[in-house]
Amino acid sequence: MRVFDFWLPLIVPLISMVVGVIIFFLREEQRSLRTFLNIAGAVVKVILVHFMVLGVYQNRFYEFRLPMFGDVEFVLHADPLSLLFAALSSVLWLVTTIYAIGYLEDSPNRSRFFGFFSFCVSATTGIALAGNLITFIIWYELLTLSTYPLVIHRGTTDALQAGRTYLAYTLLGGALVLVAFVWLNSLAGPVDFAERGSLAHVADQYQLQLKIIFGLLIAGLGVKAAMVPLHGWLPSAMVAPAPVSALLHAVAVVKAGAFGLVRVVYDLYGLELCGQLSVMPFLAVLATVTIIYGSLRALFQDDLKRRLAFSTVSQVSYIALGISILGPIATTGGIVHLVHQGLMKITLFFCAGNYAEKLHIHRVSEMDGVGRRMPWTTLSFTLAALGMIGVPPMAGFVSKWYLGSGFVEAGQSWVILVLVASSLLNGAYFLPILYRAWFAQTDDKDTTAISWRLSEIHPGLLWPPLITCLLALLAGLFAGSPASPLFWAEVITAREYGL
């Protein structure tokens, strides 16, 4: 089985790339073949990832190494953290593909869409499995390249404008990360991501340079993680079709930035060095500002998807906040929030997509009595929204609870204020939507009972939000069980802190 362990990390990103290339050459009419390929690719990927998860749990060693030039190598290495993100993106890709097939029923050039769609997911899994700096940046830039055509898929002028801003931000971010990585490479030679950070051997010589590089990395990765000054592209990218904004701007792209931050802090710099360089407060302040700013802006957005976009901006910074507080529980909270927030946010976007598709509702003000007409979608929307606020049964509560106790344990009590304030703000911009959906009196006053028929919308569009909402609920309820993301996060933290 040795050879299988060598090739597996390469096969996982490669599947969706191969599927993407094949789909590119399919003609528009070959709808059934395209659907089959998509679903098959997604299912195989989920199975392989979970196979690797089991393997890594029995600490098998998966690594793919291809020497590129000189001493620089293309390394794909599966460790618990990368598998967490890979599992998240492969599962959600399966769900979103089903949703996208239903959503783009008759729209033009779908081959192009699904081609770039699978490229994008292969880039995300590539980022997850990247083992050293150059591999990470290769997949990072590939993610930008594959998401640009999706953002401008509709081809309207404002889609193009959104694409331009998206490119401007992300290419600039990519350039910053490139300069930082090359500088690091020249200082410390070819560096792999290692469990407890791999810059110890140069830590004392280049104190100042390492600080500057850390700043560059925060800025570069912050663009994708939508940190405050660099988040401009996320709201404007909402013009993309619903599956794009669902998978990409809630899960793939944004999480890639957050995942990059986790990698840099834990596997590149390592805890002691970060503490030593005292850059953590800088990151914490930035995260706090983003959380508060994101929630405040979300309050005043009338367009539903823009409100969700700003809520993503603030939620992702929870992860950054969790990381920046150097305590094991806070880190677990941050990492597990990466998964939970993904599940809940994607449900919200699916529901927003359903409303736009079926009832042509785009604005919050038009959502009166939506619950009566589309009960199931609104139910999943409600559960996900409650989860975002942090109401107990949902996954959101679990991660916020761990974050809170982590802050207390690390003695940073002022952070709890931030947590409480942002939860209140979440409530402030989600609860009115829920009230409008269920209790607002529509003018035609049809007081007939809500018909819980499952045919309110095309099944391909109905089931995905329900599934992801269920997953979020299960992740919340069975947080303790070994199969839950929380357990896996604890495994990661244990290895990071060497407990």
Binding site: M68, I138, G155, L160, S186
Partner: protein, 488 residues
């Protein structure tokens, strides 16, 4: 055996050029294809054998040893360049056949083929030649043939552009010749390797270096001396533009690197390279800004040539500080130039396919074109990825090495220019793609692009990406006979 194989690489295109003068239309197409494929085959063999035997090959011509006779010098670099030129040339041959179509079957355009094969032979001769004067003769053949091909459409603008190109190229060759003359008078030999051993900094040596570098800077269209390139592209037929930007400019860039790191190596460690660096930086910025404001696709790609070749000179000042950095620069610049040749040719062929179908390449009227011809713009996008230097492409590896060398030597201005150049390149590539990806209202049934055109464009567009991913083989080939040994 490779000695005879190497000679066939130069001879076969010449014989093809002679035969195409005598045979009728059908025979000519057959001769062209056979000649193209045989040269491709032999270059692959040469590359394999050089990579396998890992030693440099000196082929003595007409039986006389170095100082008296001429020597062909085959090392990893020339083998790799021969291979890339062969691949690009075969693609251009098939592209030109379909592109000119019936026009080239009779009448004066039939003479495009002999000219084209002569240029190919001269390019192979140039990459192989180990003699400084022989480089002059091959460079002259390439330039005169390029001038004739630029003037092929016989329009007023193309003739004026061709004449301007001829005047400037002739001046460049004369300045190069004067440099060679001074080298001969002070060192008594014309062979590159012997000159490299005798190289010592004194009066005539510096003058020779200045003259040779000015001559070659004119030919690589470096910043203040680049005025001939854009008009030449504006009116030349697309296969000629692809040749001009892809191969001719690469040939003189190769000569700069070859002479710079062997004959003028001691000069490389003097602040003289700082001037070249400044000019390179200016070229990058000037070319990119101009490319942003062009309104024709071919002109965008032409100005991008001026910009991209600025990088060759941008990385030179780094050599001053240390020899291990010089190795990084040597590998980075060469890999960048090779990938740039493929990507630039692919971009031009994509523009050519567009012109063949839509009869114009004005960017403003291209909105929605990506829907009708998805493959053409996919190829243009992939070529663009390499021009910008985004990861999956070979250009990225070239830039990574250059960036690393610049950072190690602490030249932060150069880092800034390199990054600015990449972002500007992203600007003009995605400007074209953005407009093409719009959804156009007029749904007039699109004329499908001929398969032969799209196929050749796609092959050349994929090549730099392959060079990016499987970069281990080309680098091991480059290490054969490189003045710095394997990359540290």
């Amino acid at each position: 055996m490779t000695a005879h194989l190497v000679i066939t690489v130069v001879l076969v295109p010449i014989l093809a050029s002679i035969f195409t003068l005598f045979c009728g239309d059908m025979m000519r197409r057959v001769v062209c294809q056979i000649a193209g494929l045989t040269v491709l085959g032999s270059t692959c063999l040469i590359a394999y054998q050089t990579g396998h035997s890992r030693d440099v090959l000196n082929i003595v011509l007409s039986g006389w040893e170095a100082p008296l006779g001429i020597r062909l010098y085959l090392d990893g670099l020339s083998a790799l360049l021969l291979l890339t030129t062969a691949i690009i040339a075969v693609c251009i041959t098939f592209f030109a056949e379909a592109y000119f179509g019936v026009k080239a079957r009779s009448g004066r355009l039939t003479f495009f083929w002999p000219l084209w094969f002569l240029v190919w032979a001269a390019l192979n001769g140039l990459f192989l030649s180990g003699d400084v004067f022989n480089l002059y003769v091959t460079l002259e053949i390439i330039n005169l043939a390029a001038v004739a091909m630029v003037a092929l459409p016989r329009t007023h603008e193309s003739l004026k552009a061709a004449l301007n190109y001829l005047v400037i190229a002739f001046l460049g060759s004369l300045s190069y010749l004067f440099g060679v003359a001074i080298l001969y008078t002070s060192h008594g030999t014309l062979d590159i390797q012997l000159l490299a051993e005798l190289a010592g900094i004194d009066g005539p040596y510096i003058l020779a270096a200045v003259l040779i570098f000015i001559g070659l800077m004119i030919k690589t269209a470096l910043f203040p001396l680049h005025f001939w390139l854009p008009p030449a592209h504006a009116s030349a037929p697309t296969p000629v533009s692809a040749l001009l930007s892809g191969l001719v400019v690469t040939a003189s860039a190769y000569m700069i690197i070859r002479l710079g790191f062997t004959v003028f190596a001691p000069l490389m460690h003097t602040p003289l390279t700082l001037l070249l660096g400044v000019l390179g930086g200016l070229a990058v910025l000037w070319g990119s800004v101009h490319a942003l404001i062009q309104e024709r696709v071919k002109m965008v790609v032409a100005y991008s040539t001026v910009a991209q070749l600025g990088y060759v000179f941008l990385a030179l000042p780094v050599v001053v500080s240390g020899s291990d950095l010089a190795a990084m620069v040597w590998y980075g610049v060469l890999y960048f130039v090779i990938c740039h040749a493929c990507a630039k040719t692919a971009a031009f062929l994509a523009a050519g396919t567009l012109i063949n179908v839509v009869k114009h390449d004005r960017i403003a009227q291209l909105s929605g074109a990506a829907q009708h011809w998805p493959m053409v713009f996919m190829a243009f996008g992939m070529a663009g990825v390499n021009l910008i230097g985004l990861p999956p492409s070979g250009g990225f590896i070239g830039k990574w090495l250059m960036l690393q060398a610049m950072i190690n030597s602490g030249q932060w201005l150069l880092v800034l220019i390199l990054i600015a150049g990449s972002l500007l390149a992203a600007g003009y590539i995605f400007r074209v793609l953005g407009i093409a990806l719009q959804t156009s209202e007029d749904s007039r049934p699109p004329v499908p692009a001929p398969l032969q055109l799209t196929l050749t464009t796609m092959i050349l567009a994929v090549l730099p990406l392959l060079l990016g991913v499987f970069s281990q083989l080309p680098f091991s080939l480059l290490a054969v006979g490189s003045p710095f040994g394997a990359l540290p």
